[in-house]
Amino acid sequence: MASFYGFEPDNPLFLGTAQYPSPAILAEAVKRSGAEVVTVSLRRESSGGAGQAFWALIRELGVKVLPNTAGCHTVKEAVTTAQMAREVFGTDWIKLEVIGEDDTLRPDVIALVEAARILTDDGFKVFPYTTEDLVVGGRLLDAGCEVLMPWGAPIGSGRGLNNPYGLRSMRQHFPDVPLVVDAGIGLPSHAAQAMEMGYDGILLNTAVAKAGDPAAMAEAFALAIRAGRQAFAAQPIEARDMAAPSTPVMGKAFLA
């Protein structure tokens, strides 16, 4: 079981809390998913105090929170947001996003490494949203990160694992680092695919929140993640090009 800065969830689903049809459906989805960690953000507080009600709902759920720096485009913005999140949420965990390009929400990996170093030096436990680039991954570990979160596909796209080869390479290159596929997951089968590769967790939001029945989809993801993890542990067979009969050839009756 993977350890995320000492936390070992039975269910390694990190579930986002945005875009649900209602707070009640969000709460039901979190429960049905069995997620032990949910992601949250910080936004300007309205005079009506919408943030206070949301925070009360999350606290009632009794799950850990992983605040993000979503929408930050510079090191300074991301670091300041992380500092504010630590105070408000009372956790040193931070999902570090530094966006480099708006059409794909691709991370600015140069700024990401710089921000990660500043934050780890300041005592944060950084979960960096990165790409499957092995060199960047190494730099993030050098900067003090103990978890890597490569994207599957652009955030909210639902495309699944765009680069299975790259993600598999990352798994093999960093055999002992907790790896989470973060972003781009659309279907439970995508999550299962990542877990079958040996990934340690899945972070997703849109695929559940925007489903016709978010709570049912949340449970479907939990089942897929469990199936994928068990499959990896059970050591899958290698694929081959040609058929290999499974029924014994020896002893077949001669009937031609």
Partner: protein, 65 residues
């Protein structure tokens, strides 16, 4: 003085960040603050003096992915 509060002009009588938060109805709420792009921890709000045109950001927990 006039501050830029969460992107909008806002007149306040307060001279410190703590007093401004109370004056604007944020007292007692779970929020984090930044002045001119720098984080100001809650414990330093009372000693943080404000100046005309300061950019104040007041953020709170929100849904996120």
């Amino acid at each position: 003085m006039t501050l830029l509060l969460n992107g909008a002009p806002q007149d306040v009588a307060a001279k410190t960040l703590a007093d401004a938060l109370a004056e604007l109805g944020f007292g007692g709420r779970i929020v984090a603050t930044a002045v001119n792009g720098d984080f100001v921890p809650a414990r330093k709000r009372a000693e943080t003096a404000l100046s005309e045109g300061d950019r104040i950001e007041i953020v709170a927990p929100m849904q996120g992915g």
